[in-house]
Symmetry: C2
Subunit: 365 residues, 2 copies
């Protein structure tokens, strides 16, 4: 599959849907990708199954506070230079790159590096959504080591990291990003094609384009969009799709704690025939509750669409008075294993309850 400039609007729209409120606005990353595709031509997106078992693949993306990338603008050369620095560090060529996460701007950065180097991007990612920390990616959950890793800041300073612990790596790369203005580009989790096939959430680039296309085609049709979205998710690795709530945002609280946006939103039904919905936020929308009854929780996806335009709304853009629809989406099977739930279950985010799959929770009557 070849991905050109004309695919970027749907891809980035779908990526915001799958980002579940986090992942950062892909607007700047999209401009950068547009420029790269214009200059170097379309990207080659290859299916994980078409990758040789002994191929050498690395992940590439931004680490830090997404809001920073709206002020400290990444350049079109950052991703490619980070990849070049990685190759210089390990002393070998990379055969393909792949995303940390499909949600938000990190869906696009591997494309920028790949077209510049003339190598393919693997169709898939390490989250199937957006999540805030490195150990929450499917690659380390499946045993891929985080390093050798290379970080590059926007001044071109380079750091390398070597550790076998994903938790140590997460601390180190996070603090390096904070010491470097809040955002860096990282190239990490080098692995073989065989390891990638065993750990990737597959085909999320093409799926993101499909979701983006539906959002665009049904724009402004808050009710009729539910059916095509549901059909698309039912056919996909996500499986479950539910409309959870429609109403008006009556309260949003958010504070930056430890580099994360921590907060909650309250949404009231238009005719108040239901109790209000509370959505807890840590960068992403993590839990949707009604009278303390959980309707959906991480690692399942919760997404909020603008009721008028069907545009997904990031957590940092959620505001009092917005009319919205809230949806729940089942997470890929990757996140339902005990190893995965050990790092992405609600308790990992400080909530005091266990994960119950979306489809086992009762809907509001």
């Amino acid at each position: 599959m070849r991905l050109g400039v004309h695919d970027l609007p749907d891809l980035s729209l779908g990526a915001v849907f799958l980002a579940t409120g986090g992942g950062g606005d892909p607007y700047v990353a999209r401009l950068v990708a547009e420029k790269a595709l214009q200059e170097f031509g379309p990207a080659e997106i290859i299916d994980p199954d078409d990758l040789a078992d002994d191929a050498y693949v690395v992940t590439l993306g931004g680490v830090g506070a997404p809001t920073v990338s709206l002020e400290l603008l990444p350049s079109v050369t950052d991703a490619g230079r980070t990849l070049a620095a990685f190759e210089a560090h390990v002393g070998r060529k990379v055969d393909a790159v792949v995303s940390f996460e499909i949600g938000g701007g990190n869906s696009l950065l591997p494309i920028v590096a790949a077209v510049e180097r003339g190598i393919p991007v693997v169709n898939g990612d390490g989250m199937g959504r957006a999540l805030p920390e490195a150990q929450m990616m499917t690659y380390p959950i499946c045993g891929v080591r985080p390093t050798p890793a290379v970080a590059r800041d926007y001044e071109g300073n380079i750091a390398t990291f070597a550790t076998s612990s994903i938790f140590t790596y997460e601390r180190q790369i996070r603090s390096y990003a904070q010491a470097s203005g809040g955002m860096i580009t990282a190239c990490e989790h080098p692995m073989t094609g065989r390891e990638l096939k065993a750990s990737i959430v597959p085909r999320t680039i093409s799926f993101s384009i499909e979701i983006g296309r539906i959002l665009r085609e049904y724009r402004g049709n808050a009710h009729s969009i539910i059916e095509p979205l549901g059909e698309a998710f039912a056919r996909s690795i996500y499986g479950q799709f539910r409309h959870l709530y429609t109403g008006k945002v009556v309260d949003v609280q958010s504070r930056i704690i430890g580099g994360y946006d921590i907060g909650a939103a309250t949404i009231e039904a238009f005719d108040r025939n239901l109790p209000p919905l509370r959505v807890d936020i840590k960068n992403e929308y993590l839990v949707a509750r009604m009278d303390d009854r959980v309707l959906a929780s991480v690692p399942d996806l919760i997404t909020i669409l603008d009721y008028e335009t069907s545009t997904p709304i990031n957590a940092e853009r959620l505001r009092y008075g917005q009319r919205v629809s809230v949806f729940g989406v089942g997470c890929p099977e990757h996140y339902r294993s005990p190893q995965a739930l050990a790092v992405v279950a609600p308790r990992c985010f400080g909530f005091d309850f266990d994960y119950v799959p979306l489809e086992d929770l009762a809907l509001p009557s």
Copy 2:
């Protein structure tokens, strides 16, 4: 000059004097050095002038909160393994190592690495005292670049850094230390023998041993120690030495702010014939004042000795009720250039006055 186990007590005692209250207690570093010298034999301490102009020299030491090293114990192999990781990173052998700072435990770590590798330690350091940040070393002040640099934490994780800015490097290495338990070993500021000779504060290892010997020999003679100390400093690159005050600590305040110990001590004369002395602390003793009249300030050295034992007292061990003598020592010429004062003058530490050399300040009458 060969340095053996029997030199360590005087060297570390003198290093605490020159640490001006900071630099960390060298007790653990001394145990590590003792073990290394026992295992590998004496260290070769070479004069900077005897170093070839094209020799390849690196600095090595601990970065982080000194108090951490009393709990997270460094092992005897840390320094050598950091040096080995540096050589692997740059792909060449190091000819000699040199200290960041003579003050505190960092006077000893290069010795540990050097004896294990069979290379010499250069007699001198990059501060002639202790100071809290990397840009305050004479190496970067004289234009030596901080990187390539390698950091190793106590778990053996390795990171490398490449930047031409000493301020960027300081932020990055500091945050890496904080993310790695609070203390790491770093190998940085690679330079030629020629660059080292132009930037080093020379012969501070042998001078530290001389000061340590005087402190030991005159132990318990609070008055008679002043003359031999004064003579030793007068013959040295420091030049000035002054007894500033004697009295009892009546107040010590200290808070940890941004990874530093920030505070002040108040000392009252035994017979109250003088106003109290206030000593401001940021890790090191930075300013000594009487009624807002400055008696000594950074970059000149301020050291506090226990009145009974003549033992230098680190800031973190200063306590109410201690009877102490306070001394001022002129800084080496290195710190009196405009380039040096741009990073070590009192204003760099937040004080609202310019540096006046010790010898130009009036003594209390």
